[in-house]
Homo-oligomer: 375 residues x 2
């Protein structure tokens, strides 16, 4: 699942180039998905500093990784020598920030991983007191936002895996079970279907469906409930699934809900249909928002239309008003409008799509109607 | 499991007082264990800002939490009104950092959660361009380092839970299984015994035992292997277990290993015996290190003796050379010396202890000898 050495080498080379074009002299990346993208290894994140020091193109120092001595064996399987990445270890009591500053020389502008904890940000600030710190995200996103064929294949496999879980929903979601019990059964299925973790399991039944980021609760599923099920997690290669379907349990809901759902389904279709190279991220959001607003439900669609997905569940590009980024082939993101009636019910439909040469490919293909389960 | 309202109110009040004594005017806490300690709710950590704004004592503004509108329902169950914590929501497209700066007024010195991601650190820096940013850890640790009776009870329950897993080790660890298979069985047992997650499962067999932070691999357990098993995770209340035992599988190891192990066991006993109020953290490290060094194995003990534990698996106080902190009743930490023979074998013995009025209580009580499993 880890990319081959030439692919990683190319990513490292391009990260250095993009850094240079952003006027960044050195990238400092602590454990997380940026590190995993470049080395095929996310690192162990804790209070001890692990940091990839990646100079921008044109700077002479080779890349190096600073790592606690007791973590060093975990790097043994990585092709660091082939990638030209030096390894420097430190032991408890030594100052790892000093090691980084020795490696990085005297830059005037450094960029740190968006996820770097403040403790390390300030540790680095103290050894580079006159250096402007910026985020590495804008550099890394230039690479990570455009998925290559191998990454798309992994996202496709993740989409198929979570679709298999949704296909089995009648086994899990039934009258008389609590949301938490349903969630446990779904979690087991997410693992069964090849994920390494159930990163999130939202079972929002009845009024809980109106809370977009509800997870699960002790509420018992009742006949007639509309239930939002938003689930996903990473496959072993690290790429994530994320798909939402809305179910009616034990019978058709009333006409008012069916009508609002039809508006939502139309909005999701129109938004997916709007995805193609050259259009803005904002325009995809607008395509979902307009029909919902026209139906008088605009205030009930309380979030952006989508988020990029890859090694992170949420990453660039964000499908949100005000985002002028132009879509390109290989960009992967969710299209997930929702309507939420506080205290009553909610619904959301979410597919992951990948931009193709002339439109997009949906990675989730389960029926998008309000599926009625026997209950 | 969540502390009662008066206990949380007292924590919030004391955090404000300690902040003032540290010359910090406002604490800014994003999702994580500091937030959980103060509110009984850790928050959802992602790219959308959730932030508790907690003014130091003497500042007039009441505490407030800034939260994405779609996360707000997750706060409904919290006693925020009773705690006097205002809730401010924001929606996609708004600037949440501006909300924080409106709340915090014009401080000259703010402290941010140690775990706050750089993206939020810099977002706050941009709206408070002239404000010195420091870490909130030194403030929060003054509170979190000294566990109250309720916290000790939860750590004790966590210790008992992980001891039950070690007690069943003969069911999991046997000749012919891979480390990964053993790890899977242990993970299931960790969950069975009441943990919400197996936060770490180290099965370091044979030469892998020499890598202190090894996790698991495809290596097959062989007769005669010495195996380091370091396991733990949180109970539902959030407090963690962490205990290491070293096993010999299928028979006694050779005398050289048994002799080195006896040195290690003696070092762990002496280190635990050194724990009492008023001694330095460093002195506990020294008590473990001296006998190992005297036996000529000093260079094989490559890490500090221990780390504090609570809502985080690793927190203050660290039991390490150079740490002058004086131990006090209620401090909880690991005592876990190890010896590592690179390419050959390793061993470690780890108990969590809590400082009492005149010594300490061990929260792990499984036998500390090199336990021989049938294999």
């Amino acid at each position: 699942m880890t990319p081959a050495v030439p692919a990683l080498a190319e990513r490292i080379r391009r990260a250095g180039e993009v850094a240079a074009s952003h006027d960044v002299e050195v990238l400092l990346l602590t454990p997380g998905t940026d590190l995993r993208y470049l080395l095929g290894y996310g690192g162990a994140s804790h209070e001890r500093l692990t940091c990839l020091v990646l100079p921008a193109a044109g700077h002479l120092a080779p890349p190096a990784i600073v790592v606690p001595k007791l973590e060093a064996p975990g790097l043994a399987a990585l092709p660091l020598a082939e990638l030209g990445v030096e390894v420097l270890t430190w032991t408890d009591g030594e100052d790892p920030y000093r090691l980084v500053s020795d490696l990085a020389g005297g830059p005037t502008r450094m960029a740190v991983a968006d996820s770097m904890p403040a403790s390390h940000v300030f540790g680095l600030r103290d050894v580079f007191p006159d250096v402007a710190q910026t985020l590495a995200g804008p550099v890394l996103r230039e690479l990570r936002m455009r998925k290559d064929a191998g990454e798309v294949a992994q996202l496709r496999a993740a989409g198929a895996a979570i679709d298999r879980v949704h296909a089995r929903m009648a086994e899990f979601l039934m009258v008389g079970r609590t949301e938490a019990e349903v969630g446990e059964a779904i979690t087991a299925a997410i693992l069964d279907e090849g994920h390494t973790e159930a990163a999130f399991v939202v079972v929002g039944s009845g009024p809980h469906g109106a809370s977009p980021h509800h997870d699960v609760s002790g509420r018992v599923i009742e006949r007639g409930d509309v239930v939002v099920v938003d689930i996903g997690g990473p496959l072993p290669g690290g790429y994530n699934s994320d798909s939402t379907r809305t179910y009616a349990v034990g019978g058709e809901p009333p006409a008012t809900i069916r009508e609002a759902y039809a508006v939502l389904q139309d909005a999701q279709e129109r938004s997916v249909a709007a995805v193609r190279p050259g259009v803005t991220a904002e325009s995809v959001d607008t395509a979902a928002r307009e029909p919902i607003t026209e139906a008088g439900l605009g205030k009930n669609f309380v979030h952006r239309t989508g988020h990029g997905i890859g090694l992170d569940v949420h990453e660039e590009p964000y499908i949100v008003g005000g985002n002028p980024i132009l879509l390109e082939p290989g960009m992967a993101f969710s299209v997930e409008p929702g309507v939420y009636l506080e205290g009553e019910w909610g619904a959301r439909i979410e597919d992951i799509v990948v931009v193709t040469a002339d439109g997009c490919e949906r990675l989730n293909t389960r029926p998008r109607d309000l599926v009625v389960l026997p209950g």
